[in-house]
Symmetry: D2
Subunit: 331 residues, 4 copies
């Protein structure tokens, strides 16, 4: 843990924050970690951070006090945070020159704390069917998969959805596609086959094989209606190859480099749509929570740590966990 | 002109074709050339051609006779061909493994002839406001720009549309965007500025300048709602940079290489949609023709040649014409 | 059975029909009846019928022979008919003045026969998971519910869908909404509660109660995302009242009179969309069949009759069956 | 002018309001009147008004001072109000049981004053190309027509749009449809023909004639793609009759009674969509303003009054003005 990291670890010594107008005081029960949090702590990631800096953008907690004029929630209600709080509904903020990258635990203060005081507009009601250590995983990985599959690609029963990974967004993708009645093909390392199928995957392809050919065969050449492209780079090109006529590729991740690369001809001859995806709106999160409570989607949590074990939790993030890493903040 | 070329040039010696059931005999008035026709003639382009082969996919002509059961048109009506005749409405044909590339003058017989006998479903009524030498340019370049801007990207009044070229599809794009009330920025070589503006372009950017910066300035950083990406390759990356939040990039051309390349982060953070475009449906062509007749869109034709001057016409295709090259077949 | 009815009942004496170009000979296994068939037989319904007339528009059968040029299927394949065969994909046919009402067993010949010879374009592959007596119920009641909920209203997981009936389209609606992850409220006569819930309904409201208030309470006032309005008339007005902001009403039936009536203010203040629905396209039917085979949707069949018992089957149609009435044609 | 009316007329005697946090002080230049303002003043319209009450919801003005934290605008900027200020983007507020009817000059304070202090989120930048007495007409009548035609019905070049009135929303509808390249048919009283055509209408039908038949003839039976239904009641039924297959009816007005009535069969057989419309979002207003500034749309103002002549202005509202009635507040 480097200098930046050391500074925020003292955060819990600070007193309970004061609640301003339109804000709520929220007691934090659990925080889910994202790889981005680790990068911010280790490198600052080029953000204009002020210290003491609090990282983290996904919390589940309980409303403790309401600031003047705050009326969306009542004391005692269970809430979770949004991660890109300016995006309420419709289009997100930003310009062509300067895309908005204004998230909690970055541009805005983070949530890795025992208490946070934040605008009431930054929260939504927690799913009724989840415990805090599950609910805290929804605002980024869960919402991103939901927004991609449901709001942008319009998944529906009978669609074939390819999930070429078993990372955090991908596992939510499996469950969300299944909840919408889709047929799900997961492509990943063979050691994950059993768990992917237990989660609902209809088919599993070994990512080390000729997986493009395998998708053709599984779909009788027709291809997939939607690919949740969480890898990016040249992998997008293969995703375009397996996509059906009129199909959708949701471009989410950049694990394979900062540039996406794809062959133009099949993209054009198959009328494919590529959607750039970066989380989603608060309105979409609320719809997702309806779906969670109705369909029984249960986030996959690999491990839970205590706040003191944050360094170990960050280490675990880099070791391909199967599901989310969560910090139990309140005990 | 090589061996393939020589074979089809004899075509006009053949007798008037017989009209089969469901077909129409059409007297050809004019044929528009596409660069693809030149490539097919010169290289065969890997297609399973049979000889004598007739190239060409865009005609304007007149119905001379109806085959048994043909009822969509009457003798004497003016018609134009569709270029991808299997695509009537909704989704086009093809599979993920084998995209459909079944066009006239390729998989299907071509139209560079004095008479053609083809299924009545392959034709639509010609625009009432255009001469045959103008109308014949609609089925590929015109329809592609229309399908991209209107059917896929949903252009509307007040949108800013970037047209980064002055090629055939691009010039239609300028007119179609204007007809829908958009603000049009053309980016091309400076010698085309005057003609682009005469065609309706609101702004012109020298393609040799820092055009990305120029677009930022013209749009107060907001960016463009739609880019008609007719160049492809790395140019797509710059198009993504200038695209507004929630904007659309229509990927049409592959002049700059067979792979498209773009930065992942702005694509994701700006919720951009990339549409792969390869012509459009017959239904879209019919809507486009309504729009032509109502708004007065007039195709830009650079030069007209007689059928005997086909080699010169093909040569001209390779020399950056400003608008379409047309053959006057009937005189 | 009246004069019109008597004429078609002789149909099975006629020889096996000849197969024309582009047609297929199909051995009929099962035919589903619709109330409209009964009306056509009893009254002619104003259609320009020629005798002997064959009613019926939904069959499941097997391909026996292929006419010249027919290539979409092979002999031995299981198929079902489409009901509005001109509607392949995209928009249906017709004009403002003369809506298209060209169905099998009406404008076109019907399917209540041991063999039919019809254009190959009028068929799709039968669901793999269904028996013929189940599959034959798909082309009208099933497709109508699918097209309404999926293609027009865009149902998705977590949506609340109101099905205010337990008729044929309604029961498919329950299953299709559930297959897409929705929460389903059925409103009908109390004797159907048990069967509706067995089919997947999450909630049941007695149609004789104040059901509008009941929907408000079940949804915490938020209302329903989609109503499958199979009753029409003034019932549409109540459907508008229970519909959420931004919600959809699919107008399908006219049981309560030929005019729909609804209050303008809630329609306008809640940004509601009303979709007029009359079956769906062949492409939508193919997507629906994917969904059936993947999700295990099983049509509800109330009773099966032999061809000789057609009069009894027609009588049953008028007695509020719970599910479809099917004729086993081949045995 | 009755008791309610008298109370607000003293408003201009009150001192300049204090600017709270997040608010702006705006000097009002012009206010457009709506018939609803007249009804609120005369009857209270069942709203829980407090006195002194200020009516009016559409203003054009200039920013005079910024409250603490207000940053969207700068002092000196020209702005116009939104009319339903809670609706920023995406879905509007409200529930099925209680639709939101929270407008300025009703639930919220009005704008018929020399100065207003209101949240900065309630404003947008004024069109650059309009004078204040023109710009003030945009937030309700203009936005409603824009939201209906562009956001909901998706008008595009070549579409045929029927505008069955020459009222305030209708006249904006003519201009907006034309700006998007549509062909416009206006149906109204014959004395308005000349002015409707001067505004861009391609065709005019006498509303006292058999206008349904006239639309069939003008469209060769095909019908209209979009109807801007500002009358409602039984008129909606005729609008459904003239609507093309796949067409849209935007239900906006309730001049002909509080219930809409339409025949079910053509609605269903033509796959028509009816959109309930009640103004639009702030985001849509911003897009509309881009379109105004780019296309030169100029609101039709029938008459301008001084603030003292408010009673006369209200009288004029009830006398079928051709265009908006505006009060010049600042002189």
């Amino acid at each position: 843990m480097n200098a930046i990291g050391r500074q925020y670890l003292k955060l819990n010594d600070v007193p309970i924050p004061r609640v301003g107008p339109g804000e709520m005081l929220v007691k934090v029960n659990a925080v889910a970690l994202n790889y981005r949090d680790k990068m911010v702590v280790e490198t600052g990631r080029g953000l204009p951070l002020t210290f003491p800096f609090t990282p983290g953008s996904e919390l589940a907690g309980e409303v403790i006090a309401l600031g003047e004029g705050a009326s969306r929630f009542e004391v005692g209600m269970k809430v979770i945070s949004t991660a890109t709080p300016d995006w309420i509904d419709g289009l997100r903020a930003g310009t062509a020159r300067t895309p908005a990258y204004q998230t909690l635990g970055g541009f805005y203060p983070g949530v890795l704390a025992e208490y946070v005081a934040m605008p009431e507009d930054w929260f939504v009601s927690a799913p009724k069917t989840l415990e805090p250590w599950q609910a805290c995983t929804i605002p980024i990985a869960g919402l991103t998969a939901w927004f991609a599959l449901v709001d942008r690609a319009g998944v529906r029963a009978g669609d074939t959805v390819l999930i070429p990974s078993t990372g955090g967004v991908a596992l939510f993708g499996v469950q969300i596609a299944k909840a919408n009645g889709a047929r799900v093909i997961v492509c990943s390392q063979p050691e994950y086959e059993e768990r992917a199928k237990a989660l609902g995957a209809d088919h599993f392809i070994n990512a080390n094989s000729d997986w493009v050919e395998a998708v053709y065969q599984l779909t009788s050449d027709r291809g997939t209606d939607i690919v949740l492209e969480v890898i990016g780079g040249k992998h997008l090109g293969e995703s375009v190859q397996v996509t059906a006529v009129g199909g959708h590729v949701c471009q989410i991740g950049a694990l394979d480099g900062w540039d996406i690369i794809a062959p133009a001809m099949p993209l054009m001859l198959k009328d494919i749509t590529i959607h750039g995806i970066g989380t989603g709106s608060r309105k979409a999160l609320e719809r997702f929570i309806f779906a969670i409570d109705h369909t029984g989607i249960t986030p996959v949590v690999d491990s839970r740590y205590s706040l003191e074990d944050l360094p170990a939790a960050f280490d675990h993030l880099g070791q391909r966990p199967f599901g989310k890493i969560v910090l139990d903040v309140a005990r």
